[in-house]
Every structure is written in structure tokens, then in C-alpha cells.
Amino acid sequence: MLVVRTMPTQLLICTLLLQPFCGLYAAQTTLNEVEAARLLQQASFGPTLGDIQAASQLSAEQWIDWQLSLPATTHSDKIETLPEQKTPVPLSRLETWWRIALTAPDQLRQRVAFALSEILVVSDQGNGLNNRVIALANYYDLLLAHSFGNYRDLLQQVTLSPVMGTYLSHLGNQKADVQNNIRPDENYARELMQLFTIGLYQLNPDGSRKLDDGDNPIPTYDQQAIEGFARVFTGWTSAGTSNFLKPKADYLKPMIPFAAYHEPGEKHLLDGVVLPAGQTPQQDLKQALDLLFAQPSLPPFISKQLIQKLVTSNPSPAYVERVARVFSDNGDGVRGDLAAVVKAILLDEEARSGFSGVARPFGKIREPLLKTAHSWRVTQSASPSGHIYLRTLADSHNQAPLQSPSVFNFFRPDFSPSATLQQAGLVAPELQLLTASNALNMQNHLYTQTVGSIEGLVANPTQYQMLARFSPFADVLQRQGLPTLLDQYSLLAFGGAMPAELRLLLSDLASGLGNISPAQKAAYLWYFILISPQYAVQQ
């Protein structure tokens, strides 16, 4: 009955007719505050009252179109060397990332690029990238530049990125040297297929695995294909290099080819495709990427992961299929149009009404980084110096942009933490980050950033201490009372759907706290929301 009550008529009709194109219903009507807040949960680093107001003037599609039209706020040009440093350090890059996540107008692009950074993974943890601060930011800018571009172009740029070339060791990879038992490096070939394009098993358009006659999943590639692709990615090294064996250190410009170090022979790839001998490095690379890009598994493989990172961990197969079809063809015959894919993900009926209309448990666990970003945005947190320079974030969050422990990201899209969830067929990827210590460290971090950092109450803030502005919420509490404040928090944290038992608990908490300042009370209530299991799931 809840479904009927909250569902607009158009959607009800759509649901009854089960028409896939009906997913676009929401595009037509102006968003109310609740709908705007829900969209912003999925499409930004967390809704603020200001952003909700702005979006409420528009329909969902108009808001997305507006976001798509905004230029990218790039990172590499905004890294600052802090007074105590001579050159930018890894924390300087994270400092920039935070400033942009909190304040940049192109929120959707920043959120999509963040999702892409967890699929097309590079990391400064090992592999010679530790202090390559600008280079890593430049890679992030590459993701931003292509977030609404074409996935094929993105693959090309990622493949030729010297940062990726260093991370997955195809920079300087050379043709076989039979006499010395040297073969081409297989690293990039393998991870490109397993993680960046098609995955281990052939997929149906709805993301489920194709099965053979014996009901077994069908591998997408074998070792021979790995070796074939490894031969493709030979003969590339840093831009500006004149002697292949003595590469010039350039971590910014795309890698350049050296035909003399490129494997000249045939390359056996997928589906019986064999690249002929004697092609240039550019020809081989183009044809190999074209082949992967054309694989039918690629659209559901990438679409489902983007859905999981933006909207819900356990999308219905039909939702995956609707998005994958847009990935395959944006309607104008273009494959891999990420703007169209992002739009399809966010305007789908499951994304817009999933919390009430779908039988599968809807939503996803909020990553620690997204929680902090949201809280800081809501409370307009800033430090006296204007910088966001915290050394302890790695401990509490267990993650940081471009700092994954391996190319397999901080968490796998199929991670399921318990037998209970596995038996229900559910995954909760982000919970792979969660240990007991991390749970408590994160709680302490959120406590510090709320109750412990109230602007005006911190006596002598250090230059990098983030101060949270609770005064607007204190005003609401004082002038309009607790129910109004809880309504506002409900809008910000739950798209207006704060569960009743949580609301009751917060009311009890507020009365239990007794006679403390309104700002403190507002901070305690917000802290309890941030650590609550209900808020943990973005719905």
C-alpha cells in the first residue's frame, strides 16, 4: 500500500505495463525536495540544503543535463604545496580531492570519476607511484575528462597513460627475446580484461552469467588470449623518450610507440581473431581495444558496476539490462556513451523509486569517504587555513582516492560479508572495508568531526582543524523546534524517509541530553545519524 501511496500515477502505469522505457517518467516532472535529495545522494558527494533547493527547480533530467554541461573541475592544476612542504606530497593530492569533492559545482562528474577510479584502478601504494603526486592527479583528471565521454576513448587514454603504464607495467614492455627466455609482460593484458572491460565470464545483457550446455559459466578468455594481448601492449614508453631502453620520465603525456620494440608476429586474441604480423604498435593497440570494446559482455560488466557504485549494490537484472542496452547503443547508434549511461542509471525507475517499488533490498552501503564528504558538505566544514589536510583519514576510512592496496580496488563488486547475505543472494561490496577497528575508528572520526568540531565552540582550533557549522541547525532547533530539525536531517540523510524508530531514538536522545547548547544538540543528533545503520545504506 505504501507503494501505491508514494508512487506517481505514471509510474504505477509503467510498472503495471512493465515497459522498460517508462524508466524515464521522472524526467518530465519537476523534482520536489524529497526527490531532489534522493537524486543528489546518488549523483553527488551528498545533498546539502542549497543543492536540494537548486535541484528542486528542475526535473531530474534537467538537473542531469545541467550537470553534464558543466566543465570539469580538474585536480592536477589545483594541488597546493603547503607551507611546511617543499614539493607536493601525497596528502596534497588528497587535500585537493577533498576541496573539490566538497565544493565543486560539477558534482555529478566528480562522483562518476570517483566511481571510475574504483574500476580503472591505479594506486600510489607501491609500483613506483608513491610520490608521483601530480601524475596521479593528472590520471584522475583523465577520468574526469572522459566521465561523460565515450568508454572506448577512455580505454584508449587509460591504456596509454604513463601512470597506468607504470602501475600495470606495460610502460617499457617489449617484444619477446627468445634467446633470453623473455616474453612480453602479461600484467596489463590480464587486468584490462578481468577488471576494465569484460570480466572472467561471459555475461548476458542483464549481467547474469551465460551458461553452457552443462550449466557452467563460460570463460571470456584463456591464457592464449592473455599472451596475445600481452604481445599487443609492447613497444610503448614515456613521451619524449629517444632510446626505448632509457625512458625519459614523463608521467603526464600519453606513452609513445617504438616499432622496433613492438612484437612483430601474429597476436591470437579472442573469438578466433588474429591480428596479422607486421602491424604497427598503434594498429595493434587500436584493433585489440576495438575488439574488447565490441564484446557483448562489456556493456553489462561496466554498467552493473557503475550502478553498484552510484545507486544500489543488488540491482535487478532488468535494471542492469536497461542500462547495458543504452551502453550498447545510446539511441543514435553510439556504443559506450557514458553520459547516456549515467543518465540511464539515474533516471531509471529503479533508481528513482527503488526504495519503495522493488522487492530486492535497495541501496548500497555508503563508503566511508562518502560519509565524511557528505557530513562536511552538510555542515559547511572548513579549517581556518582553508585546507583539508588530515593525516588520520587513512586509519579511519580505510580508503583514499587512488590509494587502493591493489588493482582489485578496496572492495570487489561481488563481495558478500556473511553467510546470511550470501544465502539471500545479496552482495555488500563496501563492507569489505569494514573491520572492528575500522568501525570504531570511523565512529571516532565522525564524532570528532561533529560534536568535537562545532564552529564557535572549539577554543583554539589548529590551522587544519575542520570546523563544522552547526549554527543554522541550532537556529532551526531553537526557533522551530526539534521536529522541524529532524525533518531537515531526514531530508539531508534519508531523502525525507528517516525510519520512525530512528526518529524516536533521536527524540529520546535530544531529551536525554537535557540542557546543552542548541549547536551541541544539533551536532549530537547529526552524529547519531551518521553512525546509524539506517544511514549506512544509501537508499
Binding site: S169, N180, Q422, L431, Q432, N441
Partner: protein, 450 residues
């Protein structure tokens, strides 16, 4: 603080002494459970410590031939990646052309000599004994997704074919030995992992620094009491399954961390030095501390998980691998010394696992994903100073080379796990349940313990 025995500790704990005043009634309720789990235990105390080397250690390069044709083959296969100046070992069972240790593992040499370090040679994930002819004919029953990092990590952690729900042999071992294993029997210093996930069990994930205390709940003020009550209410059961998992994790994190933190206040200070700059050593130092208070926690059996990454040496292997192996050797050696100091060296066995071995052939300055490798098993109960399994020939085109120097294992990792589990206390029926594929191999082939 004087050292308390477990009974005294528990009594004090239940009365709310030494810091336990901050525990809620919910948390205190869990203490008898810890006690009950201890009572059901098999006799005595034993711990298994898994040291996971993420990325696929080129472990064939840890054990080297010293002379003769084997050495020539090794140098021909490895070319610029061949390791010079290995440390000569004298295994109890002589090996043709000798057995050398990678010089970066020097810290382990005395442990091999004194008989506490055993080497498992030519081991990998196998479903049944497999020959090159079968592989070439496409008739071999091979583990799925050989050479894929996460899949092969999972084969080492599972010890069986994937099941639904998925589980690891570390947790299953405990669940086979105890009705309800206590949380403190299953501790990870390296995050969530499949090895320690069972039907109900999941690892208690702490950090090398110990366990944190919740800032908001510190002290005994009325405010702290209110927040504690509210928080207990907050982390109650949830309708949404993901939220419920989150709530359960958080309520357990809080109560269990309080128990562990209190137990750790009783840890004796260890004289054994652990290198502060060695992250694996710091993890193992915390394991040693946890082992030092195992009697207070009341668990008769514990499995610990530690790990480090960086072993995926596609690049710069000649500089990267020695540094990594040095880190491992230093950390494991310090840990062994700590167990000696605690008088528990015969109760604690540490061992390595890794995704896979690597190719004998080079890709220029590194190696690619392979299959068979070698592993280390260390402890006072280990019948060390010897190599178990086989020192596979490091020769391209050998009868175990499936191409490019990806070697077919001679020993199944389940044989290695079987020996570890048997020492830990699993009986024959438990072993069959734990490692179903063990039935495909000679069960007596590997017996690592005295």
C-alpha cells in the same frame, strides 16, 4: 599490574573492575560466552598464524639449487632474474644439487638449522594429481581461473571448491572443533578475508596498533551512559539486510573491542624486538600480544591472519623481491622469538600462503602469474630442517612446465593444510569435511610436525 589468571580476570570483569565499568550490560553478557567456548575446547592451547603474501610471491625463487645441472638450468631459465649467492642449507633429507635459501631470507636460516622451520616445496592449488600430458590434452581437472589474483587467493583460503555460502578453512576448522567458536579465536590483523569466514564466524579485525576505544562513550558521566544506551539501541536488528549486517558488525565491534582491550591491559611486555619500520612485524607483534593473553580470553585454539602486499613483481623484481622477502623473514623470525619468550613456541605455528607462484621465464625485469610455489612453515612443534613435497626443477620445458615456466604443483595445498589442521586438533572426520579434495591425494605424504 600483576598478572591475573583467567578466573580472577573474569570475576573482576563481571564486577566491572579495571576499565570494564565502561562496558554495557550487553557487552558483559558476552563474557560468559567466551568462558563457555573455552570450556568446550580440546586440551591445551594452539594457534595457527597465516602470513598471506598478496600478489603472488615468486616463491620458487626462495629456494635455489646450489650446483650441477640444476643450477645451470635455473640460470638458463631465470637469466637476469637468477639470484646469486644463495645461503646453503643442510636439509635432513639430502637434495641432489643442494638446497639454497634466497639471501634476503637470511634471518630464517638459523630457524631451519635448529629444526623449527620446514619448507613445503612445489605446492599449489590442485583438485587431483595432475600431469603435463593431461594439461596439454585438455583433460586435466584444473582449479578455476588459474593465474587470476583474487580467484587464486580464494583457492588458498577456501581449501575446497567454492560453495554457497563461501567459507575459508581457517574458520571452518574452528567451527568443526567447537560448537560456537568464540570471536577471539579468529583474529585478523590484515582486514576482512575469506580464510577466516565460516558459517557463522567472521574475523575480529583489529590493527597492529591494537583496538580503539569509542571517544563518545569514554568515562562514567551521565552523558556517556546515555550515549552508550542510545548506541546499543541504535545498533539493534534492522529490517534492511545490509543495514542489519552493518548494525551487527558495529555492535560486535564495540563489545568485542572492549573485551580485547581489557585483556590486552594484562599483556606482559615483550622483550623480543620487532622492527617498527616493518609493517608485517608490527602485525605479528600484536599477534604475539594477543597470544600472551589467550588464557584470559579463554580460547584454546586461535587462528590469526596477517598479510602484506607487493608480491606481484611484474616489474623490477631484482630490487623489489629481496626487500619483500627480507621483510617477511625478519617479521616471522621476530615472531618465532616472541613465542619462545612466551614459552609457547611449541603451541604456535606460522605459515605462508600466496596467490600463486610465478613464471620461471622473465618478462624483461619481472615475472608473470604462475602456479606452483614454495611455502614456509615455522614453529616449535614443526619437524623442521627439511623440505616436504618436492623442490621442483627450475628448468624451462621440464615435465612439470606447462609453458613459460608455469609449473604444475607436485603437492596440493590441501595436503599442506591437512597437516596443519591435524596438528591443530582436527580428527580424521573433521579433516574430510574441512578439505574434501584431500581424498584425492596421499594423506600421509606431508607430515610437518614432530
Amino acid at each position: 599490574m600483576r598478572h591475573l589468571d583467567r578466573r580472577e580476570w573474569l570475576k573482576l570483569a563481571l564486577k566491572g573492575s579495571f576499565g570494564l565499568a565502561t562496558l554495557s550490560s550487553l557487552q558483559l553478557g558476552l563474557l560468559p560466552q567466551a568462558l563457555a567456548a573455552g570450556r568446550a575446547a580440546p586440551d591445551g592451547y594452539k594457534a595457527l598464524v597465516c602470513v598471506f603474501l598478496f600478489g603472488g610471491n615468486d616463491s620458487l625463487n626462495m629456494l635455489l639449487p646450489l650446483s650441477g645441472q640444476s643450477l645451470l638450468d635455473y640460470q638458463a631459465a631465470r637469466q637476469s632474474l637468477a639470484v646469486a649467492e644463495p645461503i646453503a642449507l643442510t636439509p635432513r633429507t639430502a637434495i641432489a644439487d643442494g638446497l639454497g635459501l634466497h639471501p634476503a631470507l637470511a634471518a630464517l636460516e638459523p630457524l631451519f638449522s635448529n629444526g623449527s622451520l620446514a619448507l613445503a616445496g612445489g605446492v599449489g592449488s590442485l583438485i587431483r594429481p595432475t600431469t603435463l600430458a593431461e594439461v596439454q590434452a585438455g583433460k586435466a581437472l584444473l582449479p578455476k581461473n588459474l593465474f587470476s589474483h583474487n580467484d587464486q587467493q580464494a583457492t588458498w583460503m577456501r581449501g575446497q571448491d567454492p560453495q554457497s555460502p563461501d567459507s575459508g578453512w581457517g574458520a571452518r576448522l574452528l567451527e568443526l572443533m567447537y560448537d560456537v567458536p568464540d570471536f577471539s579465536s579468529c583474529i585478523s590483523l590484515a582486514g576482512t578475508n575469506l580464510w577466516q569466514r565460516g558459517a557463522a564466524l567472521s574475523p575480529f579485525g583489529m590493527s597492529a596498533a591494537g583496538v580503539p576505544e569509542l571517544t563518545a562513550l569514554k568515562g562514567s558521566s551521565k552523558r556517556a551512559a546515555l550515549l552508550r544506551d542510545m548506541q546499543n539501541r541504535l545498533f539493534s536488528a534492522q529490517q534492511h539486510p545490509l543495514a542489519d549486517q552493518f548494525a551487527l558488525s558495529h555492535s560486535q565491534a564495540q563489545s568485542r573491542s572492549a573485551i580485547v582491550a581489557t585483556a590486552l591491559t594484562q599483556a606482559p611486555s615483550l622483550q623480543t624486538e620487532f622492527n617498527n619500520a616493518n609493517p608485517l612485524a608490527l602485525q605479528l607483534q600484536m599477534v604475539a600480544k594477543m597470544i600472551s593473553v589467550q588464557a584470559l580470553l579463554g580460547v584454546g585454539r586461535q587462528v590469526f591472519f596477517v598479510g602484506m602486499g607487493g608480491f606481484d613483481t611484474h616489474d623490477a623484481q631484482n630490487t623489489v623481491q629481496p626487500a619483500l622477502l627480507g621483510t617477511v623473514a625478519e617479521a616471522m623470525s621476530s615472531f618465532y622469538q616472541a613465542t619462545v619468550e612466551l614459552g609457547l613456541s611449541e603451541k604456535v605455528t606460522s605459515f605462508t600462503m600466496s596467490d600463486f607462484g610465478r613464471t620461471l621465464s622473465s618478462n624483461g625485469d619481472g615475472t608473470d602469474h604462475g602456479w606452483a610455489g614454495n611455502q614456509l612453515v615455522l614453529g616449535g612443534a614443526v619437524n623442521g630442517g627439511d623440505l616436504y613435497g618436492q623442490l621442483l626443477p627450475q628448468r624451462l620445458g621440464s615435465p612439470v612446465d606447462m609453458g613459460a615456466g608455469r609449473l604444475i604443483p607436485a603437492l596440493s595445498n590441501s595436503q599442506l593444510f591437512g597437516s596443519l589442521a591435524q596438528w591443530f586438533g582436527a580428527d580424521q572426520s573433521a579433516l574430510q569435511l574441512l578439505l574434501p579434495e584431500l581424498a584425492n591425494f596421499d594423506p600421509g605424504a606431508v607430515s610437518l610436525f614432530k
